[in-house]
């Protein structure tokens, strides 16, 4: 009974939160609602007994990914409502609707054919994190390592892109040096324009 109550409660909350995320024109509402929705999704993992994945969902999506979005939003004035530019609303509706129908079909297909078998059912003798570790490092070792390599590539690319002037620290430079640096950089761009 509790599982049912919890499921319907969190399902409703999740849907409401993500609806707000999509519908609102206020960037701060969208950010908050999405963070809350990510937390409510973790409730489903907890209901299913996958504690490890639930905690990871909170840490990764809410703690890290959403916080990075928040960093991006620091550059906007988040207290104003945003005027969105809609050039082709029909296309958006058609593509969005198609995507939604596809997702529903993908999820429904195994339920309709009653063909759901857990490949790796939860083993009560080992803990949650151990079970995931075993599957990840035996059956899914190659995709797991591939994902790790991809993350490494992304990290190095990010450092290379962001680290162009990392050897100079504005806080450690005297005012004249900063002025000199600005002057030389503007000169460079002017030369480039010529």
């Amino acid at each position: 009974m509790f599982e049912a109550v919890a499921f319907y409660l969190f399902a409703t909350l999740t849907i409401i939160m993500f609806t707000i995320t999509v519908m609102t024109s206020q960037a701060l509402y969208a950010l908050t609602a999405m963070a809350a929705g990510m937390i409510f999704i973790s409730a489903f993992f907890f209901i299913l007994g996958a504690d490890f994945l639930g905690a990871i969902q909170i840490i990764v999506y809410t703690g890290a990914v959403m916080a990075l979005y928040a960093f991006g939003m620091m550059f906007f004035d988040t207290t104003r409502t945003l005027v969105e530019k809609r050039s082709n609303p029909r296309l958006v509706v058609v593509l969005g609707g198609l995507a939604a129908v596809l997702v529903v079909l993908i999820v429904l297909a195994p339920i309709v054919t009653t063909n759901i078998n857990a490949h790796y059912p939860i083993d009560p003798s080992v803990g949650n994190s151990q079970a995931i570790g075993m599957v990840l490092f035996t059956k899914y070792l190659v995709p797991f390592e591939l994902a790790a390599v991809m993350l490494l590539v992304a990290m190095i690319a990010g450092i290379v892109l962001a680290g162009k002037k990392m050897d100079k620290s504005l806080t450690l430079m005297a005012d004249e040096e900063i002025a000199l640096m600005h002057a030389s950089s503007t000169q460079n761009t002017e030369e480039g324009a010529h």
Binding site: Y29, D51, A70, T78, G127
Partner: protein, 329 residues
């Protein structure tokens, strides 16, 4: 799930909420007294014996103060931000064993709300969400200084989460479990079995990260005292501001519990003596938070980032690698 379990859980939750809200209030009193003695002052003196009722006076002031919501703020977010800070601090407490199990009138009580087998991960996750309090509060405030402070606090939280997670990895590898009770039982053999002896580096790193995660003084950039404002809390008044405070102090207590349980043996074998030792250890760590505030200045934001990414994180990674090699061979 039977009725007794539900009632027991609700009672535990209420007790934890009441005890730690009261402790958060008392924490401010201790902080003022400790700071005062270290600076050769007297601290709060006039309200009640030794100024003890100062806590009540502050509470009454906060509760009865007018709740001002400035004109240009994003109202719902502005209102909910302090609640996030306080709520996540208390939610983290759900997986912390505060006391060994004991028997009252033939009924065994487990002083932990939810004995999940990923306790420490849950606690870290909840503390990670605590970031949203300052962040949303600052972004919704329509105030430049609040926004800058929110950005700074987000940077500090995200950076030091890496350090606290990596430093915990080494002890967790030794224990082989994420449950705080298992970690405690691993060290039940007495003072020689404490993880701090085999993982001193991880202990120091996690301790440093704890200061950043609770926003205490050497890393107190989230509330920029030197700008003579209260950082993200500049636009807040009354109890909404008080909730930020309760969250911060509750977090200090909970992270003290976590450090004591993971590195210093926790409640040991579960005897009464072990239980009181746990409280002593927690008091020491809480006192240390106040001591540092009296003894150290704040570091600059760029020094803070330098310390995290160029010093602490490499040490933590090397520590994990060495632990792995030692365990393998």
């Amino acid at each position: 799930m039977d009725m007794a379990f539900i009632i027991e859980t609700i009672v535990k939750i209420v007790v934890i909420l009441l005890v730690f809200s009261a402790l958060a209030g008392l924490g401010t009193y201790f902080e003022r007294k400790v700071l005062a003695f270290m600076q050769r002052r007297l601290g709060p003196m006039h309200v009640g014996p030794f100024g003890l009722l100062q806590v009540a006076a502050d509470g009454i002031k906060l509760f009865t103060k007018e709740d001002i919501i400035p004109q240009n703020v994003v109202k719902p977010i502005f209102k909910i931000a302090p609640v996030i800070t306080a709520a996540t601090a208390f939610m983290a407490a759900a997986a912390i064993p505060f006391w060994p199990q004991f028997t009252v009138f033939g009924y065994t009580v487990h002083p932990i709300v939810a004995d999940v087998n990923i306790g420490i991960l849950y606690v870290l996750g909840m503390m990670a969400i605590g970031l949203y309090g300052p962040l949303l509060g600052g972004m919704a405030s329509a105030n430049k200084f609040s926004l800058i402070s929110a950005a700074r606090s987000a940077a500090v939280f995200i950076s030091y989460e890496v350090v606290s997670g990596l430093s915990l990895l080494a002890p967790l590898m030794m224990v082989g479990s994420l449950s705080l009770i298992d970690i405690n039982n691993y060290q039940a053999g007495g003072i020689g079995n404490w993880i701090v002896w085999s993982q001193p580096v991880a202990f120091i790193l996690f301790w440093i990260a704890a200061f950043a995660e609770t926003g205490r003084t050497p890393f107190h950039l989230i509330a920029n005292d030197h700008e003579i404002i209260d950082g993200f809390g500049t636009e807040y008044s009354g109890m909404r501001w008080g909730l930020f405070f309760i969250g911060e102090y509750a977090n200090m207590f909970f992270i003290s519990f976590v450090i004591a349980i993971i590195f210093l043996g926790g409640f040991g074998d579960g005897s009464i003596a072990g239980a009181f030792q746990l409280l002593l250890k927690v008091s020491f760590f809480f006192f240390f938070f106040l001591w540092t505030r009296a003894a150290w200045p704040d570091v600059r934001p760029d020094q803070l980032m330098w310390l995290c990414w160029k010093v602490l994180m490499p040490i933590a990674v090397i520590n994990v690698v060495i632990t792995g090699f030692v365990m393998m061979f």
